[in-house]
Symmetry: C2
Subunit: 197 residues, 2 copies
Amino acid sequence: MGGTRAEQRAATRRALLAEGRRRFAADGYHDVVLAEVAQAAGVTKGAAYHHFASKAGLFRAVVSEVQHELGERVADAARRYDDPWEQLRAGCRAFLAAGRDPVVRRIVLLDAPAVLGWDEWRAMDEDSSARHLAEALEVLVKAGVIADQPVEPLTRLLSGAMNEAALWLARSTTPQAPAQTERALDRLLNGLRSQND
Amino acid sequence: MGGTRAEQRAATRRALLAEGRRRFAADGYHDVVLAEVAQAAGVTKGAAYHHFASKAGLFRAVVSEVQHELGERVADAARRYDDPWEQLRAGCRAFLAAGRDPVVRRIVLLDAPAVLGWDEWRAMDEDSSARHLAEALEVLVKAGVIADQPVEPLTRLLSGAMNEAALWLARSTTPQAPAQTERALDRLLNGLRSQND
DNA sequence: GACGGTAACATACCGGGGGTATGCGAAAGG
DNA sequence: CCTTTCGCATACCCCCGGTATGTTACCGTC
């Protein structure tokens, strides 16, 4: 066991983050006890407080990780298309699919706003997944595909719509629910096209 | 001090609910300590546990109250119109305005899903405010105003859109943000009209 | 109209868990 | 080699949710 000091430090940090992610996703922030996370990671509570300022600090680090992974998933899905409109649709579909992942669902969508506060949650969401949505909408406005308008309100509306839809889809048992949701989202997006204004 | 037994009981319960509502809205669920709520209500912690099963039980009762008041506000706004489409729009506008109330914002939109769990939150939302949205959409589908489709996915999308938009509007400082959001919402809704299908 | 019962609390207590202060051994640096 | 510092472990505090028990006053009953 071992390696250099920085390596060891990085290893324990990774172990804490990984175990924290597992437990936060499975049990929710409140029911997770920090000492158990540390123990499962092979260290004690003292180590956790050496790496993070508090239980919420560990949670914040986990949220940040998951958020950025989610943003990458969305961006990757969008990059597979050339048409900006199709990029937007693909990103939305990827987000809806990602919401079924308990890690995303429980940690990012359910607990994070309440634990970290809405302002901080929004800031983190902004520079990971929601940013891609805002950029895609901006491109479509500039190209004249959708009506000229401030993109921020639109971004919040669509972001919220997909957050909630993702939460719902994760609990839905009807197999055609994802397709129906994507179809409904398409209809809503079509309302943005310029000629409808 | 005062009245019959049932009256006294009801009075204490009301006091606990009122003080709980104040503190939950101001400080958030986690930072509220039950003994202080009871003390401010003129009783002790024992009384609170006589009326509610737990701290979460008191919170649940407060959420239920606020939810129903919110549902009434939305329904009242809608009833002022005859045209179903205008009823939908009015209800949405009323909801967005209500979200600026810290009681609604903090208790119902931010803490409730995390504290009570998404399933219970959704069930409570269903038989208060979200139900009106689903009914309005149902009417519009039946009347052929919007394209024939399952209303449940659409309800979740729009409900989520307005939840998030309300949270954002409450933190926004730009005075034209509400109007811009309503305009963006109108565009989205227009996408649902039958001829666009 | 005494009287037992019970409802509506108050009081006392417990235990879990987040946070902190301190100790300690091993790696890094001179 | 010797010391400093870093990366943890250990021991401890205390707040707060929950419970168990005591106490007072209302309420139906004879």
